[in-house]
Symmetry: C2
């Protein structure tokens, strides 16, 4: 079944201790859509400006991504610039130029409104609400977020949680939202806010799922070298929803392996700047790392 | 086969945000020996003073621990006092009174010298050397350590690494020793120092084994509440060597499950002050959590 992904489409200028890469293809929806595309058809909703390079449109197309919902607006594409510290965990924002993203309204083409699987990638919760308002009874909705929205749009986010099946956030966001350091306490408190599936991401330490069928400890694929972690979280949720939509049977049956798929695509994402490594991945590369993970956790 | 465990035997006064417990049974060898005792016979080498409570000797005996090597010296038992911060990760030392531990020399009773499995629990590397100097061709030697020895006895420790089969340390110690943030790079550099098996512990994030048969990602058993993490690392290595010694077949065949056993005993350790929870564990409790871990990582 097809997946609808709504989020940001951006140009990222990224500096690491070893290199600098301007105007890469970035944004939560870009990373997530490319990640999901390895598993099945993807519809993308986002907005780009007149400066958005044609080669990035071609890159989306190469991944079979349906771009009917990609808006082209007069003005500049959302441009973010950031710099990573030597351990690649801490980063600081150098520049945020919203451009056409400032007035982005994620209007859905009619054909998108009945998509069974929906990923509300990281954008303002009000826009995530706006997407759901247009949908016709989706089968499964996953929402991602970031600390910014906890800080400036908490009420919108709390309301959103009552409308989604699965909520994905990282450990520091979970701590901020629930005031608990303990992952179980945090999961329990987030369930009370609405979602039946909660996933807390812990970066290189993997992620934890709490679901109606219990907990799952999902390993991160261990990397020898991290080149650029930007978009790893987006790739994780993209791979997750992509596998869920492609899978036969229930979400409960598929969600563990879906997280593993997300984890593997995220690992490839970290091995190159922007989406440069991810877009060179073949399905068999994903299978290879899934099978390595199976061996890594076997006992 | 029996296990020889050499390390510190101490009284721990521990303060957490919610409680304070003076003069608990503590020390690396105490935690490790009790943990190992669930899997098979254990011989303990340590030193205690005249103030060492008889009930703690009885506790060792209840676990079937051979105490021929436990030295009783005139003077006071090693006494450590520490306080945990609210997140239970950071702790500070309030008091260290070495007492009889200051002049401790781990002389081995003759019957101990041919123990096939040896755990050099956390003590000064010079004392760990002293133990190995007395041994008759042990089958498998595991060494644990702490940041203190990296700071004040690095040369001794580096020499020790050429004499042991397995070396266990935590992630911050691995970083300090290898100057690498990447766990693979750190593991590779530690292998070059000698040990064929290296385990990096990551607290609640589990541990990673690098061995001749590849890597293993060992989960931590996830806890709803941590009461006192003191001794968790010692319990981990204790459970590890206990299961290794009890297992049929090669170390390579058994080491993954041995880490899981260590992880489970460490989880119980964290659920009570000192060894209070660990000593109430039954073998079937351990099996229960092993089977839960199997389910938690299945995909």
């Amino acid at each position: 079944m097809s997946v609808l992904i709504v989020g940001s489409t951006a140009l990222d200028s990224i500096k690491t201790p070893s290199a600098e890469n301007p105007r890469l293809l970035g944004g939560s929806a870009s990373h997530a859509a490319i990640a999901a595309s390895f598993f099945g058809p993807v519809k993308l909703v986002g907005v780009v400006g007149e400066d958005f390079p044609k080669r990035y449109v071609q890159l989306y197309r190469k991944h079979g991504i349906d771009l009917v919902g990609l808006q082209n607006q007069p003005g500049k594409t959302f441009h973010w610039a950031g710099e990573y510290e030597i351990n690649m965990n801490n980063r600081r924002t150098l520049l945020t130029e919203l451009g056409v993203f400032e007035k982005f309204m994620p209007h859905l083409p009619d054909a998108y409104k009945s998509s069974p699987f929906v990923l509300l990638a990281n954008i303002a919760p009000s826009l995530q609400h706006f997407v759901l308002d247009q949908m016709r009874r989706p089968k499964f909705v996953v929402a991602d977020t970031m600390d910014l929205w906890l800080n400036i749009a908490l009420d919108d986010l709390i309301r959103l949680l009552k409308r989604v099946d699965a909520f994905v956030l990282n450990d520091s966001e979970a701590h901020q939202l629930t005031q608990s350091d303990n992952v179980f306490t945090a999961l329990k408190r987030i369930h009370k806010l609405g979602p039946r599936y909660v996933i807390i991401k812990k970066g290189s330490h993997g992620s934890v799922l709490s679901s109606p069928k219990g907990f799952f400890l999902c390993p991160a694929y261990p990397l020898h070298k991290v080149v650029d972690p930007t978009g790893a979280g987006d790739s994780f949720v993209g791979g997750l929803i992509g596998h869920l939509a492609a899978g036969k049977g229930s979400v409960d049956r598929n969600i563990r392996r879906a997280m593993i798929c997300g984890s593997v695509v995220a690992s490839y994402c970290c091995e190159g700047f922007g989406v440069t490594r991810t877009t060179r991945v073949r399905r068999k590369d994903i299978e290879q790392r899934i099978s390595e993970l199976e061996d890594l956790v076997r006992f």
